[in-house]
Assembly symmetry: C2
Homo-oligomer: 173 residues x 2
Amino acid sequence: MANLTKCINMMDEGIGRVSMVIPQMPAAEARLSRLMLMVGSSLEEELEAKLKPHKLNHSDFLTLMILYSRPDGHSTPGELCEFASQGATNMTRIANALVKRGLITRRAGEADRRCVLIHITAAGRRLVQKMLPPLFPRISAMFAGFSEADKRDLNRLLRKLARNLDQLSKEAV
Amino acid sequence: MANLTKCINMMDEGIGRVSMVIPQMPAAEARLSRLMLMVGSSLEEELEAKLKPHKLNHSDFLTLMILYSRPDGHSTPGELCEFASQGATNMTRIANALVKRGLITRRAGEADRRCVLIHITAAGRRLVQKMLPPLFPRISAMFAGFSEADKRDLNRLLRKLARNLDQLSKEAV
DNA sequence: ATCTTTTATTTCATCGATGAAATGTTTTCT
DNA sequence: AGAAAACATTTCATCGATGAAATAAAAGAT
């Protein structure tokens, strides 16, 4: 929808001109950040579009996937907040919606009774198993033309970038 | 804020377990998509945090930067919609806010009088020139430890990914 | 035993984004 | 000239996200 290539071209020209006026700008790095932002949000759009028919948004889906991918299919709201990068208010709302659809259940915690144990249900598992396979061709197509070395490199570089971002936000305190 | 590394670790374990249950999943590619999404949104958070003190969000800032980086400092709403990936309604709202702050002006188009010409003002330029330099150290820090080859690779791979995403959304019609 | 902290929810108010539909100009088509 | 298309705005209704504050229950600290 967004025509990424066209946006990237115009970004390239723009950064070129700005760095003429402001030479101390780290142009290569600025370009990389913009690329990350553009490709990232395009990917997000693509994903949301595929989730829409199932009446799930990214946060809902991510929450469900975290539970699905857990050894015992459960977690707590606090943990889900952390891994899905959501506030507590938001997670309560998400959980309410998923409970209402019968995809998860809430129980009282056993060890620590302050916690709530959120379990994925059989229906939740079935939904995930129905949703995932149709995504596979598109996920593969995204990386068409990537050699094994390309994938390894991208993987390595994204993780390195992630570590740097963590470092940045840690210092920001 | 999000502790990206921790989220990535849990994603790795999760994908490992899911691909045991669903072996036909393209695990490496799924991992890469998740990485892109996570790093992308972390980057977005980082950027928004830096913009907040100036009372600008990402869309506002992007719109202003597009104008700033233009040879003649102007564009039209339609063009801005395209390059900032915004709907027309949204762009009208953004432009209203920027006009109110004196950062841009609206004029009637000369060649095509249906179009509106949006110009960045002197105040708009001053704001951009004041905002950018403090961002530079952080942009550089994001890519700390990246060799020149790393940056070239990341650049190349992101552009390749972008082309594939464009292809995907074109086919989706 | 009391105080504090942790955990989750509820309530409330707000903000930005979104999309559809109607409107008004201006240009283009035929 | 008249019809159709393009451009931008306005209006309206809605939705998801957000954050602060109050509440309640349980665990931990001293």
